[in-house]
């Protein structure tokens, strides 16, 4: 049982397949959840015809994608046109090898000591499919979508990477398992790194071309952007890659800022050791906790999409270069000062105070509309 072949090839493959299937089921479910939730947010019904509450839509959509006619534009660059939808799938699938879903060693596929960097490397190559697809379609709207995507990805990769640096400085490791273990003995990283957490949240929305930043496929400007000319299964591949990358980014968010598979801080609560004492059940519990957290962030994606209107392209670039990058650099600087002073625990107060202020702002009593009629127009 313990031959190197089993240890290095068979078990990782089995684990990867299980994780892969779970993630694909989540992707399929996410499609239905997103449409139902958008219906809820926008005060309409959403899909509710196929099966109970539209649940069979999860099966109906792939069947429809498979059976539709696959149209290839006559003047498309053939090879690049076929590579376009397939290329982003490869990194989106491989990344799931590197994410620790539950307490190691049983519930992680592999453990690489530069795991975080490898994930960043793989996710940063996903953009090629979009650029290539946009270019190969030989359609000006597609090309503009691809170009916008390239500019946006490169711009937001910088704050995305810089926001992680603060976490790395606190935890002192690039290994995702070590980062989670650090968070269970100290506070979860969103407390000391609340600024980085916010930047990461914005940047991951931009990386995935989700709605406040979905300029590559802005339907009111570019028809459908880079996938205008794609139909049937090829379009489904683009969707699959997008949703997989959303799950990857949510996994990263949970692992880096929200304690991974654990449910405890300062060594109290459901930490890794407690879960290990429970044996197999504890491992599955940890994985369930992880998946629940990830799904919460997937819901935040949908929430964002329903809440914010789309940015203009120059606003997008301004936000990235003039606000996000300086903010991320400042966060690194402040974190470094606190670490050099040996007062890492003081940073928790930054998080607590800012969360408190945000809560106060949210729940402050709203002024009555009739009292100040002149201000209603600006009240948004």
């Amino acid at each position: 049982m313990n031959t190197p072949l089993m240890h290095y090839l068979v078990w990782p493959l089995v684990k990867f397949l299980i994780a892969f299937i779970i993630v694909q089921v989540l992707v399929a479910a996410m499609n239905w959840i997103e449409r139902r939730l958008l219906g809820l947010f926008q005060a309409r019904l959403g899909p509710n015809r196929v099966g109970y509450k539209g649940l069979l839509q999860i099966i109906a959509d792939p069947v429809k994608f498979l059976l539709k006619e696959d149209i290839v534009p006559a003047s498309a660059e053939k090879v690049a046109y076929f590579l376009g939808p397939i290329l982003p799938l490869i990194p989106a699938f491989i990344v799931f090898c590197l994410i620790p879903f539950g307490p190691p060693p049983t519930f992680t596929v592999t453990r690489v000591n530069v795991g975080l960097l490898l994930i960043l490397a793989l996710t940063s190559t996903g953009v090629y499919g979009i650029i290539l697809g946009g270019w190969a379609s030989n359609n000006k709207y597609s090309l503009m979508g691809g170009l916008r995507s390239a500019a946006q990805m490169v711009s937001y990769e910088v704050p995305f990477g810089l926001s992680i640096v603060g976490v790395l400085m606190i935890c002192g490791s690039l290994d995702l398992v070590t980062i989670v273990r650090y968070q269970e003995t100290n506070a979860w990283n969103f407390l000391p790194q609340i600024v980085a957490c916010f930047i990461f949240l914005v940047a991951m929305n931009a990386e995935n071309n989700r709605t406040p930043f979905d300029l590559p496929e802005a339907e009111s400007e570019l028809v459908a952007g880079y996938h205008t000319e794609y139909s049937a299964m090829k379009f489904a591949f683009f969707m699959l890659a997008e949703f997989s990358m959303m799950i990857v980014n949510s996994c990263l968010m949970v692992t880096l800022f929200f304690g991974g598979w654990t449910l405890g801080m300062f060594g109290i609560g459901l930490t890794t050791d407690v879960l290990r004492h429970m044996g197999m059940f504890g491992g599955i519990l940890g994985t369930l906790i992880f998946v629940t957290k990830v799904m919460l962030f997937m819901l935040i994606y949908v929430w964002f999409r329903a809440t914010f209107p789309r940015f203009r392209f120059d606003q997008l670039m301004d936000l990235g270069w003039k606000w996000m990058i300086p903010l991320a650099l400042g966060n690194i600087f402040v974190t470094a000062i606190f670490i050099l002073a040996g007062q890492e625990r003081l940073m928790y107060w930054i998080g607590i105070v800012s969360i408190g202020l945000a809560a106060m702002y949210l729940f402050k009593p709203k002024p009555k509309r009739a009292a100040a009629p002149g201000k209603v127009a600006h009240a948004s």
Binding site: V114, L120, S124, T125, Y128, A151, E157, G161
Partner: protein
Amino acid sequence: MEFAIFFFFAAVAVIFALVVVLHRNPVVGALSLVASFFALAVMYVLLEAPFLAALQVIVYAGAIMVLFLFVIMLLNLQHVAEPVTRPVQQFLGYTSGAAFGLGLLYYIVKYAVFAKLPAGPFVTDARTIGIKLFEAYVFPFEMVSILLLAAIVGALLLSGRQYQKREAAP
């Protein structure tokens, strides 16, 4: 096993590098360069330097080549036939290329074939590389950043001058 992987990816790297030089379509060239970079990253993994491999993919494949593709598509350089250059330029190009190749060959032979290489295993984690970079090699590191800064300022100046002209024109 390691040899098989090495030769496969070495062949991939060389073939795609040749495609970069020989293919007429700039988009194909840029994409082949990306494939070549990926093969190179596999070489770093084989040399037990996963950190370098990850950086190679992040920086070159993930950022720089995306920008290259962006520029190529923005200028729409797809099927334009290249204008005939003057023979002097051709001559200079060939000779400088040959000189560079010969120099490269000389140093490869000098340092890789006839010299004794230090034996591994090497420490290649992020911490060691960072400490080396900011202590022993801080001067070259800063020189490279100044070089990049100069390039950025130059680019800004050039684009800014055009912008000013356009403002002044109407």
